[in-house]
């Protein structure tokens, strides 16, 4: 595999509705921002880009089949090769990885990844229905198809198994909304208290409206290239900051569509297939053995095996052994506060069962930001410094790419330039991870980005 560089990105303003533009024009907004950032015009870039990957989740929301080619056409990228990818909530993350593969494999030297979603075209509860069609329409959807309900079921089991509390979940909401306060791209920029979160209208017990991300209209784009592609871009006049940002490893996992079908594995199978190298210590093996002795089974409905497998593969490819201390920040798929907590565990930022206390510890918070919370620990690895899906919004096909763009800017040390505020710049960020998640944990992508030495 060749080294892949992520050299630029752009994000449209995420909003509840963007009726001012059609979806191709929304992507154009993000695309133009990325090009402008490296100082190239479209005709210059067109001469060098080898192709693209398009990302959008739902033909239902778009009410337009072949929407990918409409974007390719509008951007002026025809007749270059392109294809659309789709994988539920992970569509954007998959798009980023498919563009990575195009470059890493040698097929392309310069590849554009772009994505969008326009969710405002239907009423909120109809939108929830469309999203719920991403559950088994024979067995899950007809029982009460509602993703917030599915995630709420998962977290009641997490609470029962591990003692996780709604207040710990609320810490995630306070953190992410507060982080977004300094992110001009975010849809919801709010200073909240734990009480605000818990007193918000109950949606699916125990998740309130402030535990759940909102629907959005938005687009994002990133430019990936090889060493050769980089040379071509710079020869054409592109100004690409040093140190470069590269993507040393990607990983992806899957799991059963119906959460009811997820296995309840034995301890030995967990050790064999799912244990992270960072967990392979006598202490942690004993900790997990104790969980199994109490009746814990993996992954059940409380954990995302796909997220664990995606992390494991990405860490192996990127040479990460201790994720909490070797990754400087994570942009992860916090469609729900509960799923951020579950994902801490999948990604090995803490052990399974410790996500709740980890959420309230302060370790995943930004340094230098006042949250109005009593946090016992200092920040170690800020999670969702951008505000995540909960505060930025979740225009599905754009979301995973938005994470990539924010990660590129973090590693370029350019948050101040793009946000007009340095509050959310993770100090001396050398390595970040982005995590994109579909369904109830069906497809999960994890990609590692880092500053070139």
């Amino acid at each position: 595999m060749r080294t892949v560089y992520a050299v630029a990105g752009g994000v449209s303003k995420f909003a509840k509705a963007r009726p001012d533009k059609t979806f191709p024009a929304l992507v154009k907004e993000a695309y133009d921002y990325a090009l402008d950032d490296i100082g190239l015009t479209h005709p210059q870039f067109f001469e060098l880009v080898d192709g693209s990957v398009a990302s959008y989740f739902s033909d239902h929301f778009a009410r337009q089949l072949m929407a990918g080619i409409m974007v390719q056409d509008y951007l002026g990228l025809t007749p270059k090769p392109s294809h659309r990818v789709e994988g539920g909530g992970a569509t954007g993350g998959i798009c980023f990885q498919e563009a990575w593969k195009a470059v890493a494999s040698g097929y392309m030297d310069v590849c554009l990844a772009y994505g969008f979603e326009t969710m405002s075209h239907v009423a909120t509860w109809k939108g929830n229905e469309f999203i719920a069609l991403a559950s088994d329409v024979s067995f899950d959807y007809p029982v009460g198809g509602f993703y917030s309900g599915y995630y709420a079921m998962m977290v009641t089991r997490h609470m029962k198994e591990f003692g996780t509390t709604p207040e710990q979940m609320a810490h995630v909401s306070v953190k992410n909304h507060r982080n977004a306060y300094a992110n001009p791209y975010a849809q919801k920029r709010q200073k909240l208290t734990i009480e605000d979160v818990r007193n918000a209208p109950m949606v699916a017990w125990p998740l309130t409206r402030l535990d759940i991300c909102v629907m959005s209209d938005g687009a994002a784009a990133t430019i990936l290239c090889s060493e050769e592609g980089l040379a071509k871009l710079e020869a054409a006049g592109a100004v690409i900051p040093r140190p470069l940002v590269k993507v040393p490893g990607i990983g992806r996992g899957t799991d059963a569509m119906r959460m009811a079908d997820r296995p309840h594995q034995s301890f030995d199978d967990f050790l064999k297939y799912n244990l992270l190298p960072s967990e392979d210590t006598a202490d942690t093996r004993a900790y997990y053995k104790h969980l199994w002795d109490k009746g814990f089974r993996y992954p059940g409905v409380h954990s995302f095996r796909a997220g664990r497998m995606g992390s494991k593969e990405a860490y192996q490819n990127a040479g990460i052994h201790d994720p909490l201390h070797e990754i400087d920040f994570v942009e992860l798929h916090d469609a729900y506060t509960s799923s951020e907590i579950q994902t801490y565990e999948d990604m090995g930022l803490c052990r399974y069962g410790e996500g709740g206390p980890f959420a309230a510890s302060g370790k995943a918070f930004m340094p230098g930001v006042e949250y109005g919370l009593e946090l016992p620990d200092e920040p170690i690895c800020p999670v969702n410094p951008s505000g995540g899906l909960i505060a930025c919004g979740h225009p599905v096909g754009a979301t995973g790419l938005m994470q990539a763009v924010f990660a590129i800017w973090q590693l370029q040390g350019a948050i101040g330039k793009h946000f007009g505020d340095t509050t959310l710049q993770v100090p001396d960020a050398k390595r970040g991870a982005i995590h994109s998640h579909a369904g109830t944990g069906t497809y999960v992508t994890v990609s590692v980005l880092e500053r070139d030495a």
């Binding site: 509602f146 917030s148 029962k160």
Partner: protein, 177 residues
């Protein structure tokens, strides 16, 4: 208590959109400042959905029987039908399970997808059924949706079949035993 009225579709039918009476250069340039036009596009369709190899399950519910699928080699049993086993790849066979179990996980939906809004609040549960290795998603009744409690997890429940079946998995629902 909310202080916001819900936004709904169903606006006026509009004729005659404001537009410059003369398209001179200034008027053409001013079109860039024009607000977007939004129209409603109704969309309705009836699908002919086949339950395929899972059809006997629904026939069973209609006749008051809970059918599950079992791998003939390993005995691994799926409470939610599955024509082939995910581990061996074998075709599964039909077995009957007693319509009872325990609550493994649950939620109370106070909102829902448009189709289910009239049912709110309703309770969803993942049910552990004796003899099954996987769970079954069902509606729960007989519990107070305003008194949700983690104590519900582990509670024994019985299944009841709808007399007038709807050919949906909700033709069985569960209530505290």
């Amino acid at each position: 208590m909310t202080h916001k009225m819900e936004e709904t579709f169903g606006g006026y039918i509009l004729h005659n959109v404001p537009f410059p009476t003369e398209l001179d250069e200034a008027a053409l340039a001013s079109l860039k400042r024009m607000a977007p036009i939004l129209i409603e596009q109704p969309y309705a369709i009836t699908y002919l959905h086949s339950f395929g190899q899972d059809s006997p399950f629904f026939a069973g519910l209609t006749n008051g029987r809970f059918l599950a699928n079992r791998d003939p080699e390993t005995g691994y049993t799926y409470a939610t039908p599955r024509g082939h086993d995910m581990y061996t790849g074998n075709e599964t066979e039909w077995v009957e399970l007693p319509a009872e179990g325990k609550i493994h996980a649950f939620t109370v939906c106070h909102f829902g997808s448009e189709e289910f809004l009239p049912d709110c609040p309703f309770i969803l549960g993942q049910i552990e059924m004796p003899g099954a290795d996987t769970l079954f998603l069902a509606r729960l009744i007989g519990l107070d949706p305003h008194e949700a409690s983690l104590d519900w997890i582990g509670m024994k429940v019985n299944g009841r079949f709808r007399r007038l079946s709807k050919m949906k998995p909700t033709d069985i629902y569960f209530y505290p035993a």
